[in-house]
């Protein structure tokens, strides 16, 4: 969970549980399209108090704008929409799963089933990179992608991420 502890120095190896907000996970996204999914995930982060003083609507708009510039659908059914904002204090991520799949104009043209949405502080680009490193380290593993897609409750998502943090093969 994001501790929002400003004093915290991010170690080289960031863990999923350092920045994924467990209150902002949606194991069954109803959204049928990309923008609605983004709006829903940003809202969850807002409700969880992870957006600092930034306006929810502003972040939603900026994530969509960023996504329009170049898709973050990296292939293999995953997308990592993200934005940097000056009002955000620490990097925070929401996770959404779609069972029917969402068109993200992904690199491999396939639908996206797992979305990890990140908001990061503008002033700390290194923190953003370390969170991305962590996300992609796991997302590039087929086992992790499969397990994530199979989650049906927020608890299952949380358990999987905690397990992945401890298990270097997951």
């Amino acid at each position: 969970m994001n501790t929002a502890n400003n004093e915290k120095q991010w170690a080289n190896e960031m863990k999923l549980s350092d920045f994924v907000c467990f209150e902002a996970t949606a194991p069954d996204l109803q959204a049928g399209d990309r923008d609605t999914a983004i709006i829903e995930l940003v809202s969850l982060l807002g409700q969880a108090g992870q957006l600092g003083k930034a306006k929810k609507s502003q972040i939603q708009k900026e994530v969509i704008k960023r996504e329009n510039e170049a898709s973050t659908g990296m292939g293999k059914g995953v997308a990592v929409p993200h934005v940097k904002h000056k009002a955000v204090k620490d990097v925070a991520a929401a996770i959404g799963l779609s069972h029917r799949g969402i068109d993200f104009s992904a690199l491999d043209k396939q639908p996206v089933y797992s979305i990890i949405l990140l908001v990061s502080p503008t002033e700390n680009p290194d923190q953003h990179l370390q969170a991305m490193e962590c996300v992609f380290t796991h997302l590039q593993r087929e086992k992790f992608r499969k397990f994530l897609r199979q989650c049906r409750t927020p608890e299952q998502i949380k358990d999987l991420l905690l397990e992945a943090d401890e298990d270097p093969t997951l």
Binding site: A70, G75, D126, H128, L129, F136
Partner: protein
């Protein structure tokens, strides 16, 4: 004998290995947009491209793997290209990373 020598030369040409150390110079480091530029250029070449930091070596043509490097401003990466166009590949990547610094601001 002549044909044997030709084979060797051809082989040598095809297997050229070129290495370089590149420093990340833009403030925001190798985040997704620069990573995509990198992969885009790497994929224009036939050569196999490997990128390494202190901890790991990855495929320079994979966006997911490049994103795993978390190369911050000032970080040094070793790139190795192996193949018929290895030299051109390294030259193009060096230009992108060090000269153009991904068309992003530097400190």
């Amino acid at each position: 004998m002549q044909s044997w020598r030709c084979m060797v030369e051809e082989d040598t040409l095809e297997n050229e290995v070129v290495e370089a150390e590149l420093e990340i110079r833009n403030v925001d480091g190798l985040h997704m947009r620069p990573a995509m530029q990198f992969v885009d250029i790497a994929n224009r070449f036939e050569s196999q491209i490997t990128v390494s930091n202190d901890q790991t070596s990855i495929d320079g043509k994979s966006i997911m793997q490049i994103s795993m490097l978390a190369a911050t401003c000032g970080a040094k990466l070793r790139i190795q290209a192996e193949g018929p166009d290895a030299r051109q590949a390294v030259k193009a990547l060096r230009e992108l990373v060090e000269e153009k610094h991904f068309d992003e601001p530097i400190p």
